[in-house]
């Protein structure tokens, strides 16, 4: 499959908005939260995105945003005549009062710890995750430090 065809296919999908090309090999789009799981399954099984590079949680105050970076490593998706590896950047909007979304760790095992990290540091709940514990901070830690409203107990020095 060619990468340009992917853009056309994405346009035909409902729930996919704001499609843009970031670089020659990267497409960025917004995805509706309600259809995220089935769409990710489609991306993995039909569009060859077999690797989940990164899941980022952003506190946009007041709401949250999740950014998924998915890449194709096997070269099944060709970017023109180049050898470049194709990638998509998926943005999903979450409201502050219900920061939860379906887990994708059963699709990509590599997403498992990224989701645990997003839960640990940003407090996003991944429904259906097999083992949603804190990963970097100790058990029993209060709060989610990467949230913008997290208050430090220590004195903050201005640099």
């Amino acid at each position: 499959m060619n990468f340009k065809d992917l853009q056309k296919l994405l346009k035909a999908n409902e729930g996919v908005t704001n499609i843009s090309t970031l670089r020659e090999n990267v497409i960025k789009f917004d995805l509706d939260k309600s259809i995220s799981k089935e769409f990710f399954k489609k991306l993995k099984e039909e569009y060859y995105f077999e690797h989940c590079s990164l899941i980022t949680a952003i506190d946009n105050q007041p709401d949250f945003e999740l950014v998924y970076h998915l890449s194709c490593l096997s070269g099944e998706l060709s970017v023109g005549n180049t050898k470049m590896a194709a990638m998509v950047e998926v943005h999903i909007h979450l409201t502050r009062d219900s920061p939860s979304i379906d887990s994708v760790s059963d699709l990509w095992f590599g997403a498992n710890w990224h989701e645990r990290e997003a839960f640990d540091l940003m407090g996003i709940y991944f429904i259906g995750h097999p083992d949603l514990r804190r990963v970097l901070l100790p058990e029993g830690f209060a709060g989610h430090p990467l949230r913008k409203d997290y208050v430090y107990e220590i004195h903050e020095e201005e640099w």
Partner: protein, 364 residues
């Protein structure tokens, strides 16, 4: 026999840093594993949000003590993408030389740490003797031996010193002879091969799903290297090959992962030589480097251990609003139950050593 949990770490010779591997064993056979991280968590991402863009290069240097240039570089290219900075060609060549020197130092550090894991102390002394040569080279332009802070937003700190090329050439020639020596010492050693062959196997398609990238993925025969697949700096203009090895059809074992790194060292030597041949004269720092940035950008680079990704969101101020670091080892360690299951307890150092763990970047 009754199953039981054994806790290896946080203080254990196998761990290469501070982390805990809990393994469930049935007699000597591993049936489950549970890795635990966080002992070295410094919250680099949060610290970065409170510092200006150019200040963060000191933090990225400290992400990985074995490969600090590649991490700083990864951050710097992401900031340059965000701020739309053009880097002079000479600076790009210098960066490539430094990245490859760092890759050599990092792979040698790994090889030197892997040998004592297998009970081969001599290997550590030999590989670390050679790493010393490359640290000396890295010290010449940057002034330090471990955390260089040499690659800056918009270029590099200063030009290469006089005589750098000749010194590098001399060391590379010596190093190539040494690599041939090591082939006799390790690759042809029956004991080394008995410890590493047919241990810790996973297939290429499994690895992609588990999130394993870099040399560990290339050890399965998958031709994927971000230096070519998402090219940056001047790797496109240079003639080099992606090194792959296979233990069998489509899968890797500890030995194939070892061999990929040895091959990559030879390739790095080739890249550095080519860079010196083509390096133009000119400025080493961009004349326009903004302080503030808005919008979002990300860049992937090939770290010594796999795919490094930096994602930055700017809100128009001089500090990043959100800075996310993707560490290749974070996901590779998370997948360790998959490639440990079924092997013996005594194979753990051989398997975990072969994937090249660095806890500094993993814990962030």
């Amino acid at each position: 026999m009754a199953e039981m949990w054994i806790s290896m770490g946080p203080q254990h010779p196998m761990t290469h840093g501070l982390w805990t591997l809990k393994v469930k064993v049935d007699g000597e056979t591993i049936v489950d594993a549970d890795p635990e991280l966080g002992y070295l968590h410094r919250s680099v991402e949060k610290m970065g949000e409170r510092r200006k863009y150019f200040m963060n290069t000191t933090l990225t240097d400290r992400l990985c003590y074995a490969s600090s240039t590649t991490w700083t570089h990864s951050y710097v290219v992401a900031v340059e993408e965000l701020m739309e900075v053009e880097v002079p060609t000479r600076a790009q060549y210098i960066r490539t030389v430094m990245l490859e020197l760092q890759r050599l130092a990092s792979h040698l550090m790994w090889a030197g740490a892997y040998m004592p894991d297998l009970g081969h102390i001599t290997g550590a002394l030999y590989f670390w003797r050679d790493r010393e040569l490359f640290l000396n080279l890295l010290e010449l332009p940057s002034g330090s031996r471990l955390l260089y802070n040499y690659i800056r937003i918009g270029g590099v700190k200063r030009d290469l010193p006089d005589g750098f090329q000749e010194k590098t050439e001399r060391i590379l020639t010596l190093f190539e002879q040494r690599l041939d020596e090591y082939a006799d010492l390790f690759e042809n050693s029956k004991i080394f091969r008995m410890r590493t062959e047919d241990v810790g196997k996973f297939t290429g398609s499994q690895a992609m799903n588990l999130g394993i990238t870099g040399p560990n993925l290339r050890g399965c025969g998958v031709k994927h290297d971000l230096r070519r697949d998402d090219t940056y700096e001047i790797y496109e203009e240079i003639d080099w090959d992606i090194c792959t090895r296979e233990a069998g059809p489509g899968y890797s074992d500890c030995f194939s992962r070892y061999m990929v790194r040895i091959d990559e060292m030879r390739e790095s030597v080739k890249i550095i030589r080519e860079c010196f041949k083509k390096m133009p004269k000119g400025p080493t720092m961009s004349s326009r480097v903004p302080v503030r940035a808005s919008g979002e950008a990300f860049r992937r680079t090939e770290d010594s251990r796999g795919e490094a990704l930096m994602y930055l969101v700017g809100d128009g101020s001089d500090r990043p609003y959100r800075w996310k670091i993707k560490s290749p080892m974070f996901t590779t360690i998370s997948a360790c139950p998959y490639y440990l299951k079924g092997y013996k307890l005594a194979d753990i150092p051989a398997i975990m050593g072969s994937i090249d763990i660095c806890i500094g970047e993993t814990d962030k």
